[in-house]
């Protein structure tokens, strides 16, 4: 997906761009409101991530201006934790807000929730063999059978399906789910992999165990 990040803190912005790139998203960064306007005139974005305090104005003004002529969903990134601030954001037309510092998994969860409400994005489906997964809806189509995945199963499957043929260690998979549950262990990964195998039963992609190294998704 393609996001526009409006954030004046360079370090934070660079980390967000890098981190979201790991998940296969393209992020354009604008450090100020006028740069953001320029980006919006040139490209269609699936979503805007908007900081509130910016050098050339208040993100809230941008939000109300933006709402008058565009429908691109907006998630506000705010360091202000006051409920009144958040309520104000939602009143101005933000789709959601997230308080800094945020967990990327939570940000992604919120992005998906917003996009789901807004009726999807351009590329929320990934197909591998005869399996198609809808990352927003959390549904899986295996051959002719429809399966609804739980959130953590979906996130784990996303890693596999984005990296077919690649060996993924339990630790790498744990990273993926770490934010979802601080207490998750490597044993839990085995449980989830077993569940995913059942879900994928009958389809062409399979999750193989690579002894001593981890798991790998292959297509028969």
């Amino acid at each position: 997906m393609r996001f526009l990040l409006v954030e004046d803190n360079q370090e934070l912005a660079a980390s967000i761009v890098t981190r979201m790139g790991l998940d296969g998203h393209v992020v354009d960064h604008a450090a100020a409101l006028d740069a953001a306007e320029t980006c919006l005139r040139c490209t269609e974005y699936d979503l805007i991530l908007l900081d509130v305090m910016l050098p050339d104005g208040d993100g809230r003004d941008f939000l109300s201006r933006h709402r008058s002529d565009r429908t691109t969903p907006v998630i506000v990134l705010t360091a202000r934790s006051q409920v009144s601030d958040r309520v104000g954001m939602l009143d101005l037309g933000a789709d959601d807000y997230i308080t800094k510092p945020f967990d990327f998994s939570e940000l992604e969860a919120r992005i998906r929730a917003v996009l789901r409400r807004r009726g999807g994005a351009a590329d929320n489906r990934i197909t591998l063999g005869d399996v198609t997964v809808d990352l927003l809806a959390g549904t899986l189509r295996v051959a002719t059978r429809d399966v609804t995945l739980r959130n953590r199963e979906l996130r784990l499957l996303e890693v596999f399906i984005r990296n077919p043929g690649q060996i993924l260690s339990k630790a790498q998979l744990l990273d993926r789910l770490f934010s979802f549950d601080a207490e998750i262990t490597e044993n839990a990964i085995e449980v989830y992999v077993a569940r995913l195998r059942r879900r994928l039963d009958g389809g062409s992609p399979r999750i193989e165990t690579v002894r001593g190294m981890g798991y790998r998704m292959t297509v028969q």
Binding site: N9, P101, A182
Partner: protein
């Protein structure tokens, strides 16, 4: 606010009492004066008549052929009869002998008589009498013979008149006092009215209304009003400074934390060795912990500030719960926790922002301590004269710790494991409930493991 202020005395009562005391003194004084004047006037009248009478008799004294002769004029007694039915006594003494009259009427002895009329009050035959005396010197038997004429009259009428006047004066004085006391009460009320009006204006204000008072005031109260306005001004400035400070502090603390967290997460994906991954996870947990603590500290500061100045509005609890649930649903979904709600349409009078904050903290706790693939149920229902929001999880429970202990600042349960938290969440919820006259209770769930937190709020 009266209950928290120690009052001593009342200006109105003091003023009324002082004015009434002055009125009583004046009434007493006027009664005494009227009584004195009337007595004096009555006595003066009697004295004048007695003088006229005694003089009229003295004028009739003649000496004929060496004898003192006297024909008492009728008028001399008739004028005395003018005053009621007083008894009249007289005695005319010549050379120490009584010519006529009452022998025992005690008169001044010879040699001391004067030509002018003299008066004396004495007791005669059991009555108080007033006596006028006048002396004359006549020539009889070729020598000067002193003659003393004395006329006395009882004083009953004079006493009666002065008693009557005194009674009337007393009545008038009492009436005057009652009227004056009433007027003092009214005057006290009227002069204190601007003060009362000001007190009402202050009391009517909402707790967050810190605008200056625009009312006009008498110049005695004007300095007080000016001082109050200056105080309001300072208070308002200091409150908005502290609100700005809270927001600014949040921004300053959270932005760098966000950078650290993001880079730590990137590093977590980049490193391959298990022990390095574990270190990065620990870094992320620590950052999460500090950011949660910072958030809850700021929440707590905001809650303390708002509960001190609680503003009550009509709050739709269904909307409120729904909004909080929607806000936290993505977090819950990350752990595949389902949030089930069962909401009855209820409204309370309260501060929506505080209630949201309390509910968010309780729900956040419930999600945090719940295992994956579990349920959190929220029930909103009426309980007695209030609303009850119950949040039940299927988490590890609170192991019998009581509400009082868990709602202490920075207190966390003993079995929190490595779940991130600062221990302020329940404190915040507890303080919000208390500010609304409600309560927060923790109890083990009835079925299976888990905890139920109940936030009870009275309707008004």
């Amino acid at each position: 606010m009266t209950e928290s202020v120690r009052t001593r005395g009342s200006i109105s009562r003091r003023l009324t009492l002082q004015l009434a005391a002055i009125a009583a003194l004046l009434a007493l004084l006027s009664w005494g004066m009227i009584r004195g004047f009337s007595q004096q006037a009555a006595e003066q009248t009697q004295d004048n008549i007695l003088a006229a009478s005694v003089t009229a008799i003295a004028e009739e004294l003649r000496s004929e052929a060496g004898q003192i002769r006297l024909e008492i004029p009728y008028a001399a007694f008739s004028m005395l009869g003018a005053i009621n039915e007083e008894r009249v006594f007289y005695r005319i003494v010549s050379d120490g002998e009584t010519l006529t009259g009452y022998d025992d009427l005690p008169v001044v002895q010879d040699g001391e008589i004067s030509a002018g009329v003299t008066f004396e009050t004495l007791t005669y035959r059991g009555d108080s009498v007033r006596m006028a005396m006048v002396g004359r010197t006549l020539f009889a038997s070729e020598r000067a013979v002193p003659v003393l004429v004395a006329v006395a009259q009882t004083r009953n009428a004079v006493d009666a008149i002065s008693a009557r006047i005194s009674r009337a004066a007393a009545l008038v004085s009492v009436a005057f006092f009652v009227l004056a006391a009433g007027l003092s009460f009214w005057a006290a009320r009227v002069s204190l009215r601007p003060l009362t009006a000001m007190a009402q204006t202050v009391a009517r204000r909402g707790p967050s209304d810190l605008s200056p008072f625009e009312t006009t005031a008498p110049h005695e109260i004007a300095p007080l009003l000016a001082a109050l306005n200056r105080f309001m001004d300072r208070l308002s400035a200091s409150l908005s400074r502290s609100e700005d400070f809270i927001a600014e502090a949040a921004h300053r603390v959270r932005t760098p934390l966000a950078t650290v967290r993001t880079q730590a997460e990137i590093a977590l994906h980049a490193v391959t060795r298990d022990e390095n991954k574990e270190i990065m996870r620990r870094v992320i947990r620590a950052v999460d912990e500090s950011s949660r603590s910072a958030g809850q500290l700021l929440d707590h500061a905001m809650v303390s500030f708002r509960t001190d100045n609680l503003t009550r509005n009509d709050v739709d609890l269904v909307d409120l719960v729904t909004e909080v649930v929607n806000g936290l649903r993505p977090t819950a979904e990350m752990k595949d926790i389902r949030i089930l709600t069962e909401l009855s349409p209820l409204r309370v009078q309260g501060d929506a922002i505080l209630l949201q904050n309390a509910l968010r903290n309780v729900l956040d706790n419930a999600i945090k301590y719940s295992p994956a693939d579990s349920r959190v149920t929220i029930t909103l229902r009426q309980a007695g004269a209030g609303a009850e929001i119950r949040i039940c999880d299927q988490g590890r429970g609170v192991n019998g710790a009581d509400t009082a202990t868990l709602t202490e600042r920075f207190r966390r349960g003993e079995n929190v494991g490595n779940v991130v938290g600062s221990g302020l969440g329940l404190t915040i919820a507890h303080e919000v409930a208390r500010a609304h006259g409600g309560r927060l209770d923790l109890a083990p769930a009835r079925k299976g493991t888990g905890t139920c937190v109940t936030l009870s709020l009275p309707f008004s």
